[in-house]
């Protein structure tokens, strides 16, 4: 880092925008919500541009995966051009690299009208020196969808006397699922001599190191339950005091998985009340404007069977409660309660029947064969995109079938068990 320059350089660091990639949530079946948070990636990108403009930042750094790989619509390109033009007109420079998802220049990317203030680093890498700001920006793009080797060797040496920023798309350290995405260790990055590593690829935000900074900003808007919690971009300020970072919330909707503990509950109205309370609490705690909530009911309760059976009713109630708030939307309601272990007795014919199913029927070869036929009959009618949901290979299909059967006999047992309402009125 250069010493004693009095000039301030402020930038916004983001990655993994996956522009126009749809949100995946059953909650979007609600047309109102679809209207509110549909096209979230665009709304979020616009708010990122908005931050750059409002705060008169110097640069926007995009560390890969601006597009989703399967993006083919020119409309997206047209939209992006418009937004980049806004930045250009406001004098905000854009520095970007390509990640695994937008590695190969697709027909669409060629159509992008990039203003002159947008700099896209190539696969061989390069450096842009901002002499007046005393900042050197380095970047190396993904040349292919998979890059099994570290990209670090492709980076130039840090420019002496300047603050060096490196843009890299990487799975860091080679996480289990992301190992072909240019793995690199944090310590190697720290040792490289740059002042700020602007990373991308991992959707969960993490500041791996400070001084020098190694920052994974995370996706600015979660797309499904797997990407839960508030999402943000990172705002960096470089001045005589060094580098400071702050997090700026960008997500307009948060995916939240909330557990409702129904342990020892005796009355279904208490359960309903607790669900409603959980929803209201969530509305208070969520930072983003909207919450897409998955509720999971668990715990040991005498009401277990009733809860399993009346899952749909609870879901409907939860949706009504959420509707009154207008900011919480119910994705789904999972019922995983268990009956008190002391009451699962084979003296109860329903339990006996369940035990018969669990211990005998489902291992029966003929049953197994019938079950496979039932599964196959339905899967063959499903849209091709969904076939994999029911098993990519034999082994997975077996596992899924097991889970469905277990779920099925639990459903039936619950229906039988809770069948006769208590008559002690």
């Amino acid at each position: 880092m250069s010493e004693g320059h009095a000039i301030t350089f402020r930038f916004l660091h983001t990655a993994d925008l996956h522009l126009d990639s749809p949100l995946k949530s059953l909650a979007l079946k609600d047309a109102e919500l679809a209207g509110l948070i549909g096209n979230a990636s665009r709304k979020v990108f616009e708010s990122i541009v908005g931050i750059c403009l409002d705060e008169q930042l110097d640069a926007l750094l995009i560390a890969g995966d601006l597009f989703d790989g399967n993006l083919r619509s020119v409309k997206t390109a047209a939209y992006l051009s418009k937004q980049l033009k806004r930045l250009d007109e406001a004098g905000v420079a854009v520095y970007m690299i390509r990640g695994n998802h937008d590695a190969e220049a697709s027909a669409i990317t060629k159509q992008l009208d990039l203003p002159s203030s947008v700099h896209v680093f190539t696969g061989t890498g390069g450096t842009v020196k901002l002499e007046d700001k005393g900042v050197a920006i380095h970047g190396v793009s993904f040349a292919n969808k998979t890059m099994p080797n570290s990209l670090l060797p492709k980076f130039k040496e840090p420019v002496a006397g300047m603050t060096n920023i490196g843009l890299m798309h990487t799975s860091i350290g080679g996480s289990e699922r992301h190992d072909v995405y240019a793995p690199v260790s944090v310590s190697d990055l720290v040792a490289y001599g740059f002042d700020y590593w602007a990373l991308g690829h991992i959707h969960k935000r993490q500041v791996h190191h400070e001084n020098p900074f190694v920052v994974m900003p995370g996706i600015p808007q979660g797309r499904d339950m797997g990407e839960s919690g508030p999402k943000s971009v990172t705002l960096g300020t470089i001045d005589e005091a060094g580098i400071r970072i702050e997090e700026r919330l960008t997500s307009i909707a948060e995916f939240v998985d909330a557990t409702v503990d129904v342990t020892a509950m005796q009355n279904m109205e208490d359960v309903s009340d607790l669900i409603a309370q959980t929803i209201r609490d969530q509305a208070d705690t969520t930072q983003s404007e909207h919450t897409v909530l998955r509720l999971t009911l668990s715990g040991e309760t005498p009401l277990a069977w009733n809860i399993l059976r009346d899952r749909d009713t609870r879901l409907a109630e939860a949706r009504i409660e959420a509707d009154t708030l207008g900011t919480v939307w119910i994705e789904s309601l999972r019922a995983q309660p268990s009956p008190p272990s002391t009451t699962t007795t084979e003296d109860d014919p329903v339990i006996e029947l369940q035990t018969l199913m669990e211990s005998t029927v489902i291992h029966d070869e003929a049953f197994r064969k019938d079950a496979e036929a039932v599964l196959a009959a339905l899967v063959s009618k499903l849209p091709s995109e969904l076939r994999n949901d029911f098993g990519k290979d034999e082994a997975e299909r077996e596992r899924i079938l097991d889970a469905l059967i277990k779920g099925g006999h639990t459903d039936v047992t619950a229906a039988l068990h809770g069948m006769t309402e208590r008559s002690d009125g």
Binding site: K75, K110, Q111, L356, V374, I405, R422
Partner: protein
């Protein structure tokens, strides 16, 4: 586990209520009925029991009296090994405590409950009407499938079939392999629609690139065409200016020359002068015309005046004739009316004459003497009216006096007919009322009827006691054995008889069996080579005897005999050895026969013993029978019934005695009444017969009282009438006297009035006839005098006018006309004509004066106009000689023309300089001199053609460019496609989610169906026979067997009818039968549970409510049987069910009242 005690300490409306079920009694049913009418709290008690063992619901509604904190239920439950007493409070934990307040581990209670939770216990161990009913329906829904039925029975779930069907329906709604239309096809349809929409909207990359290239080319082309067009436009504009400049320059030259030629006429500075010329010219013309017209008019008026006539004599008479107008009109009406008025006077005279005759006066009497003053005529009229009234009054008063006298006489007669009182009603009336109110007769009648009925009943009851005979008294005082003793005897005899029958049957069987055995033995022994034990013993005995004989004799003979015997025996033994099996059989048969023999003997002995015992008992009974008045032969078995009949008869006989007593009491009461009545009536000296009934006496008394009351009323009325008649007669007499006096007073006044008149001494009727003529006469006289005066007036008017007219002395040409009126009219006409002529002359003179004035004015105007012309002409030089209007006008026009030319020249100069873009006119002229018009025109034609082409090319280029821009624009950066992608992603998630739900359900149902088969196989053996038993009993034996029918994997339950042996599937059963089948299944399920584990209390909530008595009885029997294996608690609000239960179960059921 059984419930020993339930203490509802603070719960619902109960406070400290304890239901104690007592300890379990060995060998006795543990059967309890909780009885309570509606609202007694059965539901609360049931709920309290469930809450006791499973905990109080967090939102329990039983907190209306005791709040949640103080709610408390206690109880004791027990098993053979363990007893647990505890209390339950409300809460989520630590709700179980013992009497000392120490916590009890819920697991202990849970163990007693076999770990069943509330729902499971509720469905398995409680039964109510609704569940029975839905259970029956489900049997049909399940088509009798055995696995489901057994499961339903054990779990208590009444609707497993419909539950599974509902789940299957849910799964099928999303996808069913054999259905064509379901939610999945809909969703896939939506997906396809989205794909199509996306394709339509989205522009592909290649197409976009092509559009961009087109746009760039279009822009370039447009720019180049535009430059060319600009160049040509500029040149064209230059040539056009030049072309326009040539004619302008030419015109400028011409106009400048014109302006020069008019130099002697100063430019017109006042344009209004030009406007004045026509006015001046008009003024002169107008003045001349007016002068001529006035002169001509004056000549015409003068001619007319010369012809105008005058009548001065007529004008001098005008005033005098005016004065005569009034006289003349009276003259005229006099002449017209005089004749008619004279006739009227004659008529009036005649009328007066007629009236005088009517008055009956003398024809010659002066009219004034006949006339009477008006006031006297009025007084006479009044007196005549008064006379009529007074006469009438006198008549009425006389008549009324006569009537009143008659009435008085009649009243006096009536009053003499009087009756005196015969009885004292004040004492008799209350007595009668008291006796009537007493209704002794009614009481007696009813008592007699009751007695009659009682007697009949007693007779019937006594006859039912046959063969016993006797009277009621004998019955009531007689003795009889105690019922318990009788029952004991009956049972003893019945038992003895039964034993005897059984014994006889057994003996008969034994004898039969023995015969069979003997036959068998005979057949075995009869067959060849078989030697029975007896035969063997015989041969052995024969051999031994022969041996004995031979031994003592030792000779050949004995030796032969012995040898023969030995041989026989050896053969027999050998044969027996050979046939050892058969022998063993034979031996067994014989042993059996011996046993049967012994048995028969013993039975005979027993028969004897029983007969003796029976005899003893019978003789013991017969003593008692005789004592009770029954024949010795009376069947002791009928004795208990006879005794109960006897008790009934005794009770009936007692009723008879009571009825008799009632009747006697009533009779005595009536006698008392009779005697008091007789005494009272005799006092009234009424003759009474001795046999008169109470009713007749009462009626007689009532008649007496009634008669006495009527008589008293009549007497009072007569006396009143007499008094009234006396008063009236007095009054009427005075009135008659007064009327006479008034009439004589009138007569005096009448005479006074008539005295001194010509009608003196006439009667009122006579005078009355004269009144109208008298009244009319003065008016008639006045009328006739008025007419006479009018005639005089008319004659005077005629004379006056004729005289006045003659005095005028007018020279009239109509003197020959007699009527002065007509002549006067002619004169008046002549005067009027003279007046008109005079006025006309005056008018003509005035018109002539006016014309003279107009002529003078016109001359003045013409002079003034000519002066104005001269004044304007002063602007021009004198040599132009401008004197009249026309020359002046010409000069002014030339001045105006010169001013116009000057303006035009100036503007042409400016235009030319502007057109050629120069600064001075000289510069412009220089430019024009460089070329000429012809050359310019030909150059312009050329350039215009080129320019036109460039213009069209330019327009095309602009359109092409705009189209290219629009094409790019229409691609746009909108989010439409992204939105479709999002909708598509959501749709896919939805399909996946629903597919999983559907699959889960389908697989779950598949597993459940298989599990039910397994369940069936596991429980069939234990439950089928139990269900069969219960079903047979509950259906009252209609069905005596349950079987199953296999069909593939499924096995269906069918019932066999006892009467026809037909098998009936569940579909063929009536609804009631299916309910019974479900009930039987449930009972079997409970029994099965009790068999496998320690039982739990079974709670039945009024399930028999709708059962008829037979079914209820059978059902109670079943519950009672169950209660031997576990505890059964039945809740009901029907008293009759308690009665049935007590009858069926005796002391094996305990009834607890709430």
């Amino acid at each position: 586990m059984r419930l020993r005690q339930l203490a509802i300490t603070r719960y619902g409306k109960f406070t400290d209520r304890v239901l104690d079920f007592g300890p379990k009694k060995t060998g006795q049913a543990d059967f309890h009925i909780i009885y309570g009418p509606n609202e007694a709290g059965k539901s609360t008690a049931l709920s309290a029991y469930m809450d006791l063992i499973f905990g109080i619901d967090s939102r329990s509604s039983y907190n209306f009296l005791h709040d949640y904190k103080s709610m408390l239920i206690g109880g004791t439950v027990e098993t053979a090994e363990d007893t647990l007493t505890f209390k339950r409070t409300k809460g989520t934990k630590d709700t179980l405590r013992d009497d000392n307040g120490n916590l009890i581990d819920p697991a202990r209670l849970n163990t007693l409950l076999h770990g069943l939770d509330r729902d499971a216990y509720g469905t398995m161990f409680s039964l109510d009407g609704a569940r029975l009913e839905s259970g029956g329906e489900d049997i049909l829904a399940n088509k009798g499938e055995l696995g489901r039925l057994l499961f339903s029975a054990a779990s208590g779930m009444a609707d497993i079939g419909s539950t599974l069907d509902t789940l299957k329906g849910k799964a099928d709604a999303f996808f069913a392999p054999k259905k064509r239309k379901h939610e999945l096809t809909d969703l896939i349809g939506q997906l396809k629609a989205l794909d199509a929409k996306r394709k339509e909207m989205d522009t592909q990359a290649g197409e976009f690139e092509r559009l961009r290239e087109t746009l760039a080319a279009a822009k370039e082309h447009r720019d180049s065409v535009q430059a060319e067009r600009t160049q040509l436009t500029r040149e064209k504009d230059r040539l056009e200016s030049l072309k326009s400049a040539f004619p302008l320059a030419q015109e400028l030259t011409e106009l400048t020359a014109n302006e020069q030629s008019l130099s002697s006429y100063p430019p017109l500075d006042d344009p209004s002068l030009l406007d004045e010329i026509p006015k001046l010219r008009d003024a002169i013309t107008e003045a001349r015309t007016m002068e001529q017209a006035a002169t001509q008019e004056i000549e015409r008026i003068d001619a007319n005046l010369a012809e105008q006539p005058t009548d001065s004599e007529a004008l001098s008479l005008a005033d005098k004739t005016a004065d005569l107008e009034d006289l003349r009109s009276r003259y005229q009406s006099g002449r017209n009316d005089l004749e008619r008025v004279r006739q009227e006077k004659d008529e009036a005279d005649a009328a007066i004459q007629i009236n005088v005759v009517a008055l009956g006066a003398d024809d010659n009497a002066p009219l004034e003497m006949l006339i009477q003053p008006v006031d006297k005529i009025a007084l006479l009229s009044e007196l005549i009216k008064e006379h009529a009234i007074l006469t009438a009054k006198l008549d009425t008063a006389s008549q009324e006096k006569a009537d009143a006298d008659d009435a008085l006489t009649k009243a006096k007669n009536e009053t003499t007919k009087t009756d005196t009182a015969t009885v004292n009603t004040e004492t008799l009336e209350p007595l009668l009322r008291r006796i009537r109110n007493d209704d002794s007769v009614g009481v007696l009648t009813r008592a007699e009827e009751a007695l009659l009925r009682a007697k009949l009943n007693t007779e019937r009851a006594l006859s039912s006691l046959k063969p016993w005979t006797g009277t009621a008294e004998v019955l009531l005082s007689g003795t009889a054995p105690y019922p318990d003793q009788a029952t004991a005897w009956r049972d003893k005899i019945r038992n003895l008889n039964e034993d005897r029958t059984i014994l006889a049957k057994r003996k008969a069987q034994d004898i039969e069996e023995r015969a069979r055995l003997v036959a068998k033995i005979t057949s075995i022994t009869g067959s060849e080579g078989i030697i029975s034990d007896a035969q063997a013993t015989e041969t052995r005995k024969a051999r031994d005897t022969a041996w004995q004989k031979h031994r003592s004799a030792l000779n050949d003979e004995t030796a032969d005999i012995f040898k023969a015997a030995l041989d026989t025996d050896d053969r027999a033994q050998a044969a027996r050895l050979d046939q050892s099996d058969r022998l063993a059989n034979l031996r067994e048969l014989e042993q059996n026969r011996a046993a049967l023999d012994a048995g028969i003997t013993a039975a005979e002995a027993e028969e004897l013993r029983l007969d003796v015992l029976l005899q003893e008992t019978r003789s013991q009974i017969s003593k008692v029978l005789i004592a009770a008045g029954l024949p010795e032969t009376f069947d002791p078995l009928g004795l208990p019934k006879w005794l109960s009949d006897r008790e009934a008869a005794k009770s009936i006989a007692t009723h008879e005695a009571t009825a008799r007593h009632d009747r006697d009491t009533a009779k005595r009461q009536i006698d008392t009444h009779l005697s008091s009545l007789r005494v009272a009536l005799r006092e009234a000296t009424i003759s009474l017969e001795n046999d008169w009934s109470l009713e007749r006496l009462l009626d007689t008394g009532d008649a007496l009282v009634e008669k006495e009351k009527t008589t008293a009323l009549t007497r009072a009325s007569y006396e009143e009438t007499l008094a009234d008649a006396r008063t009236n007669a007095g009054k009427r007499g005075a009135s008659a006297q007064k009327a006479k006096e008034n009439l004589s007073d009138w007569q005096a006044r009448w005479s006074d009035t008539l005295t001194g008149t010509w009608i003196e001494n006439r009667t009122p009727a006579e005078v009355n006839a004269l009144l109208d003529p008298l009244r009319n006469l003065p008016a008639q006289i006045k009328s006739r005098d008025d007419i006479a005066r009018r005639i005089v007036g008319m004659e005077r008017d005629i004379n006056d006018f004729e005289k006045a007219f003659n005095d005028l002395n007018a020279d009239t040409p109509e003197d020959h006309i007699d009527d002065a009126g007509i002549r006067f009219t002619k004169l008046t006409e002549r005067i009027n004509t003279a007046k008109i002529n005079m006025e006309k002359t005056a008018t003509l003179k005035a018109a002539r004066d006016n014309q003279e004035t107009a002529k003078t004015q016109a001359e003045a105007k013409r002079t003034a106009t000519l002066e104005r012309v001269s004044e304007i002409a002063k602007r021009y030089p004198e040599d132009l000689k401008i004197q009249d209007v026309d020359s002046l006008a010409s000069a002014l026009h030339k001045s105006a023309e010169r001013a116009d030319l000057h303006v035009k020249v100036t503007s042409l100069k400016t235009a030319l300089i502007g057109l050629l873009d120069c600064i001075t006119l000289d510069e412009a002229n220089a430019m024009l001199s460089e070329t000429n018009e012809a050359i310019t025109k030909s150059s312009l034609v050329e350039i215009e053609s080129s320019h036109q082409q460039a213009e069209e090319k330019w327009k095309d280029a602009i359109i092409a460019h705009r189209d290219a821009e629009n094409a790019i624009q229409s691609v746009g950066g909108d989010a439409a496609v992204a939105r479709i992608d999002e909708e598509r992603a959501t749709l896919l998630l939805d399909i996946s989610d629903k597919a999983q739900s559907s699959l889960r359900l389908r697989l779950g149902i598949l597993a459940a169906e298989r599990a039910l088969y397994l369940y069936r196989d596991r429980h069939r053996s234990s439950m089928m026979s139990r269900t069969t038993n219960a079903f047979r009993n509950i259906t009252g034996g209609t069905y005596d067997k349950l079987e199953t029918q296999q069909n593939g994997n499924t096995e269906r339950l069918i019932a066999i009818r006892k009467d026809t042996g037909a098998s009936v599937g569940v579909e063929g059963m009536s609804t009631a039968t299916r309910h019974q089948l479900f009930f039987a299944l449930r009972l079997a399920g409970y029994e099965d549970f009790c068999e496998r584990s320690d039982s739990l209390p079974l709670i039945a909530d009024d399930i028999l409510e709708s059962f008829d008595e037979d079914r209820a009885t059978e059902s109670f029997k079943q519950l009672q049987a169950l209660a031997h294996k576990g505890q059964a608690i039945y809740l009901t609000h029907h008293r009759h069910l308690c009665t049935i239960a007590e009858k069926v179960c005796g002391d094996e059921v305990s009834i607890h009242e709430l």
